[in-house]
């Protein structure tokens, strides 16, 4: 019987080693962040990671302060920046590494200390490079970035009188994503804007691991409503019902 359920987050990241490239889902908030998978990677103390995503996160404190008027940020929010703060990340391929305004993100702090490399790329090219990896395409020509630093060192070419830059597929070793419901086949549905990069990254790595709110029986998800077919997902883990400290195994 096909069954992609894994009993713990530690088990889910068992083969994630030093130097791995991680596509980490999410956008800017806590609800779409695969926090428990990030925490499991932190517990594993692997080093030299490359992280790929929108923002590495602006840190827990930022989220709690800045967002306080808008949301109550849960205690179990562990954005990718958590791994940066712990010195586990060698490089970021990101669209939003720097904080808005004059405050500094954990990424900026690490960058200032020379501890981390940056490949800055816009969200659109980043998302398409990831989708392209899933789709078995080597690269694509986009009009976005021509004539800017983003195109430096990349092929620029004219089609029908417009210039395009060649962007290459960006495949990960692991995609760590967050979803709402899953079945044992790994089929996934997402709530609202938590879909974002999570659905884009599913299938774009050798191993895709989904952190979900709930697992339902096969057949409960309506075929037309499934956003990520289970073929793109290797492992599914359920979030704990109560917030758990990051350093507790599980």
């Amino acid at each position: 019987m096909i069954d992609k359920r894994v009993s713990s987050f530690d088990e889910a990241v068992r083969d994630l080693g030093d130097g791995a490239t991680l596509l980490i889902g999410g956008f800017a908030g806590f609800a779409e962040c695969p926090s428990y998978l990030v925490a499991a990677v932190a517990r594993k103390e692997v080093k030299g990671l490359t992280i790929v995503g929108n923002s590495a996160g602006l840190g827990q404190e930022h989220m709690k302060k800045r967002m306080a008027r808008l949301f109550k940020c849960p205690d179990d929010y562990y954005p990718p920046s958590f791994l940066i703060e712990r010195g586990q990340v060698r490089k970021g391929i990101l669209a939003f590494p720097a904080a808005m305004g004059s405050s500094r993100s954990p990424f900026e702090e690490a960058y200032a200390k020379g501890q981390i490399e940056l490949e800055l790329i816009g969200q659109g090219s980043l998302a398409e490079r990831i989708r392209t990896a899933r789709a078995g395409i080597a690269g694509f020509y986009t009009p976005v970035g021509v004539g800017t630093f983003v195109a430096a060192g990349k092929e620029v070419r004219e089609f029908d009188g417009r210039k395009y830059v060649l962007e290459r597929a960006l495949k990960g070793d692991f995609s760590l994503i967050r979803a709402h419901r899953a079945d044992r086949y790994g089929n996934l549905v997402y709530r609202g804007t938590t879909r974002t990069f999570n659905a884009t990254m599913a299938g774009a790595s050798a191993i895709t691991i989904a952190e979900v709110d709930e697992i339902v029986e096969a057949g409960e998800l309506v075929p037309e409503h499934i956003v990520t077919p289970g073929v793109y997902v290797q492992r599914v883990v359920v979030r704990p019902s109560e917030p758990r400290a990051w350093n507790l195994p599980g």
Binding site: A28, F71, M100, G122, S125, A127, T148
Partner: protein, 223 residues
């Protein structure tokens, strides 16, 4: 003495006057997202958010009603609106790159006389963020910048040449600042409107390139 500077809401309100029935509009984080709360209720437009919403509503002000699974590009809770569609990030930018956005409203650190946009690396910072701005700046049919007219040191932000890295060249079509509304035209920036109490001279003094004064130069209408 010039008049007071417009606040963020006034800038956002002026920008909403550019929105026409049926348009698809993307609002960046910061001043632009304020627009979502200022759109007239009888104007049927669709708001696009980078993270995959098409047709969302205003920012929810009451934390009790905020749903963290429905957030706008600024990470703020967005009101559900009938007709809302959710897409993933790749499709969201397929839509941007495909040229479906009628108006993109972005912030900026600097804009050049020819409409180059610099909103990636904040002056004084080592590194910056592109977010979705580069895709939007390259591909929106019309790009409107919302910004303060000068930086914290009172230096002009509308400049001859940008001194920080360019997000996209020659893309800005309209700039709404806290003292003026300026159109970027082929011949140069055209000063179209002024904040109450501001003269051409006072605006020009805080602007690097020479401004062309519009024939119908007038006070910003915020009524």
């Amino acid at each position: 003495m010039p008049g007071p500077r417009l606040d963020h809401y006034a800038i956002a309100l002026r920008i909403t006057r550019e929105f026409k029935e049926g348009m698809l509009v993307n609002l960046g984080a910061g001043i632009p997202t304020l627009c979502s709360n200022l759109i007239p209720s009888d104007l049927d437009i669709l708001l696009h958010s980078e993270n995959g919403m098409v047709g969302y509503g205003p920012v929810i002000q009451d934390p009790e009603r905020a749903d963290p699974t429905l957030i706008n590009a600024g990470g703020q809770p967005a009101e559900y609106r009938p007709g809302l569609a959710i897409i993933d990030h790749a499709e969201s930018f397929a839509m941007v790159r495909g040229g479906f956005i009628d108006i993109s409203v972005l912030g900026a650190y600097q804009v050049s006389a020819r409409g180059d946009l610099a909103n990636t690396v904040m002056p004084g910072k080592q590194i910056g963020s592109l977010g979705g701005a580069q895709d939007l700046a390259f591909r929106a049919k019309r790009l409107i910048v919302a910004m303060s007219h000068t930086d914290k040191g009172d230096r002009p932000k509308l400049v001859k040449e940008c001194s920080t890295p360019i997000t996209a060249p020659a893309c800005v079509k309209l700039i709404v600042t806290d003292i003026a509304v300026i159109e970027i035209a082929p011949d140069g920036p055209i000063l179209r409107e002024h904040a109450p109490g501001w003269t051409v001279r006072e605006i020009q003094d805080l602007t690097e390139p020479q401004l062309i004064v519009a024939d119908d130069f007038r006070e910003i209408d915020l009524a």
